[in-house]
Amino acid sequence: MDNGMEGMLDTYLFETNSLLDQLDEMLVKDEKIGDFSSDDVNEIFRIMHTIKGSSAMMEFGPLASIAHHIEDLFFYIRDKGIDSLDPEHKKELFNLMFRSEDSLRSQVEKVENGEALDTDMDSFASEINQFLKKISGAASDEPEAAAPDAGGAQGAAPDSLTAAGNLPADDTAVCYLHIFLDEGIGMENLRAFMIINSMKECEVDFNYYPPDMDTNPETCASIIEEGFYLAFADGEMAAKAEDLLKSQGHIRSYELIMVPEPEPAPEAPRASESAPAHAAAAPAPERKEAPQKAAPAGAPVKQNLISVNLTKLNDLMDIVGEIVITESMVTSCPELDQLNRDSYDNFMKSARQLRKLTDDLQDLAMSLRMVPISGVFQKMNRIVRDMKQKLGKDVRLTLIGEDTEVDKTIVDSIQDPIMHMVRNSMDHGIEDTADERIAAGKNPQGEIVLSATHTSNEVIISIADDGKGMNPDKLLAKAKEKGILVKPENEYTKKEALGLIMLPGFSTNQEVTEFSGRGVGMDVVKKNVESVGGVVSLTSEEGQGTTFSIKIPLTLSIMDGMKVTVGRSIFTIPIANIRQSFKITADEIIYDENGNEMVERIGGFYPIVRLHQFYSIETEVLQPEDGILIWVETSDHSFCLFVDDLIGEQQVVVKPFPAFLNCFELKNYGIGGCTILGDGNISIILDIPSLHTATLEGF
C-alpha cells in the first residue's frame, strides 16, 4: 500500500471509529430512555451513511454492506417517524443496533490489523432486512398504496406494447423511457427521483411515473419490480434524456418505448450500461436526495475541531522545549554583563516578556495533547449495559468528572485497565441477586461509580462499587491454595491481603465467565497502569463494597524532577517517587551479614543504594555525612539512594535515549530517559522501580 493510501486508511479508521463511538454513546443514552429521539434517528442515519460511503470508497465491502442495510432501516424509521414503532420493536431495534455496532467494530478492527474481512455478511444483513420488513409490516395498517403497480398501472396501457407491460397514461407522451434500477441498492424511489431531478436540471422536459415517488416510500416496491417511466412529448427530448441516462449511476437497464406507433422502437437499446455501482460515487448524490431533515454531514458543532497527527504534536512539543531552553541560554549568557546599565535593563525587560510568552506557549502546547477522559468513560456505559443483560444484575453506572483532561497516550493506555476493573466490579463486586442486596439492607439496584479528579500533577480515577466487598481471609486462603503466598499467612495485614488479587495467577471466581475470571485480571491492570507511571490501590470493606483507585501522572512527557549530583553527573529523580531526603551519620548505618547498608527511618529499615557505586562514577563524596540520602518509593518497594547533593526541583521534558544505545538496555538498570537542562546540559532520569530491581533484587 502506498503512502497516500495509508494516509487515507488512517483517516478512514479515525473517522469510522469516532463515528462508532458517537453511535455507541447515543445508543446507550437512548436505551436508558427507551426511545430514540428523532434527532438521533437522523444522526444514526447520517453516521451509517458516512460509514457506508467511506467504506465503499476504501473497498471494505462487508462494512459498507452492513452500514447500508442499517441506513435503509433508519431511512424507513426516519420517514415513518420513530413513534410508529411499538415498544417491543424499539427494544428489538436497540439490540439489533448494538449488535450491528459490534459487528461493524469487529470489521474495523480487522481492517486495523490488516486481516481479511468477513466476506459473508448476508445472514446479518438479512436479519436487518427482516426486522425492517417486520416493522414495515406492522405499520401497514396505514393506507397501503404499495400495490406493485401503484403508479405504473394508472390508466390503461396501450395494449400493443409488450415489453413494458403497463405504461402509464400520458396524453402528450409520444414515447416513454422505461428504466430499471440496480437490484438491492435500497431507497429506489428516491434514487429514481434523483435521476429525474438531475435530468430536469439539464433542461429535459418530461413527466414521470409513478408521480409521487419522491414522497411516497411505498412506490419503492413498484420501482424495484416494474421500473419507472419517463414520458416525453417529443422524440428529441427522449434521445437527449437517453444520453443523460448513460451518465447516471445505479441503472440496471432502460428501454425506449414509442407510444402511438404500433411498431415499437426497433430494438430499443437493451441497456448495456448497467452503470457499475460505483459506491464511491454514492455519498455525493445521496446527500442531495435526503435534504429534507437529515442534518447534512458536518453539523456545526464539529467544525471547530480538527484532527492532527500525534507525531506533529510531539514535534511541536519538542520544539517548544527547545525554545524554552534556548531562551534561558540567551538570557543567562555571561557576555550580558558587559552591557551598560541601561541597555542591560532594556534587555532584561524584553527577556521577561519573552519568558512570559514562552511559558504561555509551553502551556498551550502541552494542553494540545490533553483530551477529556469522557471517551473512555462512555465506553463503560456500554460494558455495564451488556453485562447487565448477560448477568441479570441491575446496576447503575454513575460517571463523575468525565471532562477531566489527561494526556492522550495515557487515555489510550488506561482504557483496558478501567474496562477490566468495571467488569470485575460488575461480575464479582455486585451481589448476584437483588434479594441478596435487599437482605443486606441496600438498594436493590447496585451502583458503580466511576470518577476522575485532578490534583496538580496527577489524575485519580476511582471505580467504586457498593457490592459485597472482599474478605481478606478468603483471599488469603485462595492465594495459599494457588501457592503464591511469600510469607506465613498470619503475617499478612489486611492491605497486603487485598493486594494479593493483583498478583499474577490470582482469580477468586471459581469458574471462568465471559467477562472476567481468566486469572489474567488485576495483574495485567497493574502492569498497564504502571507502564504509564501510575499506581493502583484498593480498599474494600466486606459487605460495603470495593474501591479501586488509579493514580497516574497528568502527562508522560513532562514531569517534576529533583536534580541531584553524583560526581560530575546530574541525575533527575521523579518527585512522585521521593518520600523524603535526609542526612545521616556513619553510625546510623546498619550492616547486614553481607555488609549491605541499611538505615532505620520512621520505624522501618530500608536498604541504601549508593548511586556512585552502582554506576561506577568517581566522586569525592564517600562518607555518609558528606552526602545525602533520598528516600524513594514505588508502589511495592521503598529504599534510600545515597547521592552527593541536591540541586533543586525542576520540571523536565522526558526524552528517550537514542536508538543507538538500545542494545545496552539501560532501562533495566534504572535509567529511564534523559532530559535537557536549562543550561543545555543533559541529565539522566532515574527510573526508580527498575533501579530497585537492578540493585536490590536477585541478591
Binding site: M329, R568, P658, L661, C663, Y669, I671, I684
Partner: protein, 160 residues
C-alpha cells in the same frame, strides 16, 4: 552552544553524480595516525565546542551523549572503538554527526581534512580482514597517501 558548520548546504550545491560512475564524495578526517574517509551521504554536520554527558554502564568507547539542538545524540570515540587508547583532546578535535540508515550518532575525530572524490573502483580490501573492527577498505591517492574507509554499518551497531 556549539558552533556549527553545516555541510548540508554545501552538499546540495554539488553536481548530481551520474549513477554509472563509481565516484563518491567523501569527507576525510584524521583519527590517531590514520586518515579515514566516510561518504558524505552519511555526514550531517561537523560540530566543535560541545559538552558530553557521561553515561554509566556503557562500554568506554561510548563517550556519552550530547545535546544537539534538542536532539540527544550518542558520541563514539572511534579510536577506542578500534581498540586503541582514548582520543586526545586537541584544538582541532571535533565531532562529525552522522546519520547511518536513520541511526544518528557523533564520532570524535582529531581533525577534519576535506571533501574529496573517491573512485570506488580504486578501493581495495584491507588484507588483514579479520582484525578490522571498523575499517573495510583502503585507497591510495595520487600523492601516495593511503586513506581508509570507515565501515558505517559496523559503526552504527553498538556492541560491548
Amino acid at each position: 552552544m556549539a558552533e556549527q558548520t553545516t555541510l548540508n548546504e554545501e552538499l546540495l550545491e554539488l553536481p548530481e553524480t551520474d549513477e554509472a560512475t563509481t565516484v563518491e564524495r567523501c569527507l576525510t578526517f584524521k583519527s590517531g595516525d590514520l586518515i579515514l574517509y566516510i561518504s558524505t551521504r552519511h555526514v550531517i554536520e561537523i560540530i566543535n565546542n560541545y559538552s558530553i554527558t557521561n553515561l554509566p554502564l556503557v562500554p568506554p568507547y561510548i563517550k556519552g551523549i550530547i545535546n544537539l539542538r534538542g536532539q540527544v545524540l550518542p558520541v563514539v570515540d572511534i579510536q577506542m572503538r578500534m581498540g586503541k587508547s582514548e582520543a586526545e583532546c586537541g584544538n582541532e578535535t571535533c565531532i562529525i554527526v552522522l546519520d547511518i540508515d536513520s541511526v544518528s550518532l557523533g564520532i570524535i575525530v582529531d581533525s577534519v581534512r576535506q571533501v574529496i572524490d573517491i573512485d570506488l573502483k580504486n578501493v581495495r580490501p584491507i588484507p588483514l580482514k579479520r582484525q578490522q573492527k571498523l575499517l573495510d577498505g583502503m585507497v591510495t591517492m595520487e600523492d601516495g597517501s593511503v586513506f581508509m574507509s570507515v565501515d558505517c554499518q559496523a559503526l552504527a551497531k553498538a556492541q560491548y
